[in-house]
C-alpha cells in the first residue's frame, strides 16, 4: 500500500493547515498522481483540487508533488514516490483558498503587466501578417507555456516579491512578444521592464527550468530580455 500525505486546509473549519494521511492500493500500476487524487476524492469528497484536461494541456492541476512542483496529470508515481510515500501540497508562495487550490490572482496580475498580446498599430493586411520560417522559429520554446504557475511558484524571488518581480512565467511570455517580428512595441515593452525588480530580481538559479512540465527554459528567455535591454541602453 502506498502512503499518501495530502495538505488539507478549509479556512471555514480548520484553524490551521494539516497533513492528512491516506493508504492507496496502486495494484502495481504506475498511474499518474492525478489518478490517485481522483480515487481518494471518491473516498473523501471534501478533498479539493483543480483539474480539467488531465493530459498536461490546461495547466490546472499544478501542485507540489513530493517537494517538486509539477502537473499531477502528467507526473507518474514512479517519478513522485519516495520511500513508498507520496506527499502532495499546494503550489508554494501563493495564498491557499482550500486544500490544494491556490489563489492565482498575483500570478495573473504579473502576466497582465507584460501586455500578453500582439501590439501593432499599422493597418492590418488583407489576409494576415506574414512571418518567415526563421522569424516564426524564434517563438518556439515560448508560445507553449500553459500558465500552470509551476515555475513562478518555485522561484524564491517570486515568493519574496510577487507584486514586483514578474516571475519566470510572465517573463517567458514577455520575451514571446519581444521576439515576435509582428509586434511593434518592443521599445515600450523594454522600457516597462528596466527596473531593479521586474526582470533583474532573477538571479538565475533555474528552479523554473527544473520544474517546467512543458520542458521550457524561462531563464534563457530572461537572458534574452537582458541582452535586448543592454542592446537598447548602451
Amino acid at each position: 500500500m502506498l502512503n499518501v500525505s495530502i495538505y488539507r486546509y478549509n479556512p471555514e473549519v480548520d484553524a490551521e493547515p494539516y497533513m492528512q494521511d491516506f493508504q492507496f492500493d496502486t495494484q502495481g500500476k504506475d498511474i499518474m498522481v492525478l489518478d490517485v487524487l481522483e480515487k481518494l476524492k471518491t473516498e473523501d469528497p471534501t478533498l479539493v483540487f483543480r483539474r480539467s484536461c488531465r493530459e498536461g494541456v490546461c495547466g490546472s492541476d499544478g501542485m507540489n508533488i513530493s517537494g517538486k512542483n509539477g502537473l499531477a496529470c502528467v507526473t507518474p508515481l514512479s517519478e513522485a514516490v519516495v520511500k513508498n510515500k507520496l506527499v502532495i501540497r499546494p503550489l508554494p508562495g501563493l495564498p491557499v483558498i482550500r486544500d490544494l487550490v491556490i489563489d492565482m490572482g498575483q500570478f495573473y496580475a504579473q502576466y497582465e503587466k507584460i501586455q500578453p498580446y500582439m501590439i501593432n498599430n499599422s493597418p492590418a493586411p488583407a489576409i494576415e501578417r506574414l512571418q518567415s520560417p526563421e522569424e516564426r522559429a524564434k517563438l518556439d520554446g515560448l508560445y507553449e507555456c500553459i500558465l500552470c504557475a509551476c515555475c513562478s511558484t518555485a522561484c524564491p524571488s517570486f515568493w519574496w516579491n510577487p507584486d514586483k518581480f514578474i516571475g519566470p512565467s510572465g517573463l517567458l511570455q514577455a520575451y514571446r512578444f519581444l521576439a515576435d517580428s509582428r509586434d511593434t512595441a518592443t521599445e515600450e515593452r523594454l522600457a516597462n521592464l528596466d527596473d531593479p525588480f521586474s526582470v533583474f530580481r532573477c538571479h538565475g538559479i533555474m528552479n523554473c527550468v527544473q520544474v517546467c512540465p512543458k520542458g521550457l527554459n524561462p531563464t534563457k528567455a530572461i537572458g534574452h530580455i537582458r541582452n535586448m535591454l543592454i542592446n537598447s541602453a548602451t
Partner: protein, 122 residues
C-alpha cells in the same frame, strides 16, 4: 515598471552592469595581490609600503574599494528588499527597511572615505 529610490544605479540594468563590472575589478585585484605575494615570498614592510605609495597602485586599490562598495550596496539592497517587506513582517517593514538601507549606505560611504584616507596617508 517598479519605482525605486534607494538602489544604487536608478535602473535594474545599471545595477546589473555595475554588479558585473565590479565583480571583475575585485577578481583582478585579488589575482594581482595573490600573485604579488607569491612572487615576493620575503615581502617586508618597506617593499609593501613602497608598492602602496605608487599612484597606479593607489588608483587600483581605490577603484577596487569603490567596486566593493557598489557591489555591497546592490547586493545588500537586494537582500533587504527581499526579506524586510510588508508582506513578510507587517506594516512596520517600510520604516525598518529604510533604516537599514540608509545605515548600509552610510557605512559603505564611510568605509570608502576611510579607505581614501588610508591609501593617501601612506
Amino acid at each position: 515598471m517598479v519605482t525605486t529610490v534607494t538602489n544604487l544605479g536608478r535602473s535594474g540594468l545599471s545595477d546589473w552592469m555595475i554588479q558585473r563590472i565590479s565583480a571583475w575589478v575585485m577578481t583582478a585585484y585579488l589575482v594581482f595581490i595573490i600573485g604579488y605575494f607569491i612572487a615576493n615570498p620575503n615581502l617586508d614592510y618597506a617593499q609593501w609600503a613602497e608598492l602602496n605609495s605608487l599612484l597606479p597602485m593607489r588608483m587600483f586599490s581605490l577603484i577596487t574599494m569603490l567596486s566593493i562598495a557598489a557591489h555591497a550596496w546592490i547586493g545588500l539592497w537586494c537582500v533587504l528588499t527581499d526579506y524586510i517587506t510588508v508582506r513578510l513582517i507587517g506594516p512596520k517593514a517600510t520604516a525598518i527597511r529604510i533604516f537599514f538601507q540608509l545605515g548600509m549606505i552610510a557605512v559603505t560611504l564611510l568605509y570608502v572615505l576611510w579607505a581614501i584616507d588610508i591609501l593617501w596617508g601612506i
